[in-house]
Subunit: 391 residues, 2 copies
DNA sequence: GATAATTTAGATACAAGCTAAATATATTGC
DNA sequence: GCAATATATTTAGCTTGTATCTAAATTATC
């Protein structure tokens, strides 16, 4: 097998075009001279690259701005090039056990449409599940006023291990049932490329992009709710492990029960069963615990204390194995989890020599869709010059 | 800053030369036609690349082999090119607390010289330490009959966290003292490029190269002795984390004391203190425990059982966070640790949904030097076209 | 309002590296 | 010795780049 494809002269154009495109994605606009300085290419090459990218639809040439007396520009006016953020769109999906949400975003990641639907029941057949997902996608596109043919990639997060090739680990769960469908069905119906990923991994991508881990290369995001999953980024790359189960801490019950496939909600139920709290008798839920603790309820405070201890132990074991710079707590409980931070931070040095910074996600329930959009954009950016844009 | 250097036509030659070189490193020899098939280049380009590499000293052209009547070759005889494994050499260092070992290897990794020295005492000044290390390097080169000027890189393993840039984490230990010296001193004395790494990380490189994890991309190596450290490879890459402390499990004592900076030897001492075993009264040591267990001693067997349990828990927590395909046990106790494998393997499914294969290292006390050689070779291979070979 | 200075655009010449096709060379087999 | 075969070498041409020169469009100055 040709281990490395031959490097033909066309490779140069691809490399240089990618460099120009990368810069234009981050900037409002750029002149030829700016691009020369940035890439080190000569003007002739820069112009050739830009004409090329205009022809492919990825960038546009802006009209000359009228003269600005406040900031007069000497010399011949420069041609100005800008990234075409509407060259296409991506979909970000959060496929939960009960609900699916879809978000449409342009190529700069600005969300322009959104839709959400709940499944009729937990045990509906795979076909119906895929049908609902497809519906949510079409609704989101309609809300955005975009044509399905302009979708360049679909990022999709599910609560199950997914390996590097996008295959679902089938050792457990019913997920395998409808996964196999999703990729081929959406490919067949719309021609879309679906990029399946674990939801905690997408949360990590989202948090690094637009959350509290912005720009952090060694980042772990804990997606805590009924289930405890971690998305791990090391040196800016997502960790998957052999079967995609990296960060799947469901079994990690050795650590005094933390993350024994229950998490915070289970603690709340224990507490509720014990009859504690001002709002005792109502349904046990994580938010209620935080509420009651804020009201000064002793039992609720004790639970928060115990949770801090458990969280600190979990984070410490992550710190020992991965040594992240920062750990972000996200998911259903994130809003209220701020109350846990002091307790966690104070305990960490007892359990690890390299305690990470611990923060709470600001992304709320959008954490997975934001990450899914980022995942899709990463694919589009990596493959821009191979993708054909629809007129 | 020029985020990406401009891609000039010379880049093509570099890429293609690297591809040819990569193949020749793995093969005995290759003809132009073979290289054409492999790279997809035309004959003219392949020959040009080879002439180039010959000029730089990386490959040689072989003489025509005399005709072999048993295997007659039609047509004009092909020119045959081969990797020049003696174009340079690398050093692999294992810098321990008490002893330093150096191995000299050619560019295919065959060890051609070796040397070892113990430090006079544990608390000698940094300068003396570096002096001993330099001595060991020179002795190893002399044993191999090689000139120091032909050393292209030095891989060095130490028992401390080292980040991606080769800097030692200075939060603890005396290591910081003599690290700072090593790189600059060897650079100054011999012009060598020293690549510092954590010893467990190098063990992982070594095990994947020439140990029981050959070819496994998601691999963890436990370096167990007085201290418990893990070298983690995910998708073929070493994990470092923010400060290089990934895999530093010294603090991971939450898991029922496993790896609480003591490991197996501590267990042996506990056992010895209790007066157990046929050889009770002698110095407590890990090998003795295995010896006595093999002799049927009940107390020793109980210790092995407890060790299996602890090891299983440690490996399970690694499996939950990293999901490796395989975990290799290496270090001082590796020889005898085979006895633990059945106990560990049997317990794993209780603690993790994704149990890895568990094996014992066959590399013995060479595990770190082998990895250090691989680390140095990786550097040389990545930078071959930038390195200047000494005549 | 003409002219100079400045900045960018565009054109021309040429170099590096690759492909493709034609021609030359060395070996085996009859 | 001659055909067949596989490889080597040469020549022309393509793509992409650099370097350099000239042209164009704007501002500043007299």
């Amino acid at each position: 097998m040709p281990h490395a494809a031959a490097a033909t002269p066309q490779l140069l154009r691809r490399v240089n075009a990618q460099a120009v495109l990368r810069h234009l994605r981050g900037a409002d606009a750029a002149t030829g001279t700016e691009l020369m300085a940035l890439t080190g290419l000569t003007r002739a090459s820069v112009i050739a690259v830009c004409e090329d990218l205009i022809g492919r639809g990825w960038i546009v040439e802006l009209d000359q701005p009228r003269a600005d007396p406040a900031n007069p520009r000497k010399g011949r006016p420069a041609r100005r090039f800008a990234f075409n953020r509407e060259a296409g769109f991506v979909l970000g999906l959060d496929i939960g056990a009960a609900t699916t949400t879809a978000a449409v975003a342009d190529l700069r990641g600005t969300v322009v449409g959104r839709s959400s639907e709940s499944f009729r029941a937990a045990d509906i057949p795979a076909q119906e599940r895929v049908g609902v997902i497809d519906l949510v996608c079409r609704q989101a596109l309609e809300a955005a006023g975009k044509d399905p043919r302009n979708v360049l990639a679909v990022g999709a997060g599910i609560a199950a291990p997914v390996d590097r090739d996008g295959n679902v680990l089938v050792t457990q769960r019913f997920w395998s049932l409808f996964d196999v469908g999703l990729r081929s069905v959406l490919k067949e119906l719309h021609g879309w490329t679906v990029l399946l990923e674990n939801d905690a991994n997408l949360a990590a991508l989202g948090e690094r992009w637009r959350g509290s881990g912005a720009g952090v290369d060694d980042l772990v995001v804990l997606l805590a709710g009924e289930r405890l999953g971690a998305g791990v980024m090391e040196s800016g790359r997502l960790l998957h492990g052999r079967g995609g189960a990296a960060g799947e801490m469901g079994y990690l019950d050795m650590v005094e029960g933390v993350g024994s496939s229950d998490g915070i909600a289970a603690l709340a139920r224990q507490w509720s069963a014990a009859g504690g709290g001002p709002s005792a008798g109502g349904p046990a839920s994580a938010p209620r615990v935080f509420e009651d603790a804020a009201a000064g309820d002793a039992a609720a405070l004790a639970i928060l204390d115990r949770m801090s201890e458990r969280m600190a132990r979990v984070i410490a074991s992550i710190a020992s194995l991965i040594n992240p710079e920062q750990v972000v707590i996200g998911g259903a409980v994130a809003e209220s989890a701020g109350a846990l931070l002091p307790g966690i931070t104070a305990r960490l040095p007892r359990f690890t020599a390299t305690p990470p910074r611990v923060t709470v996600s600001p992304l709320g329930d959008k954490i997975v869709t934001v990450g899914a959009i980022r995942h899709a954009l990463d694919f589009v950016e990596d493959n821009a010059l191979e993708l054909e844009l629809a007129g």
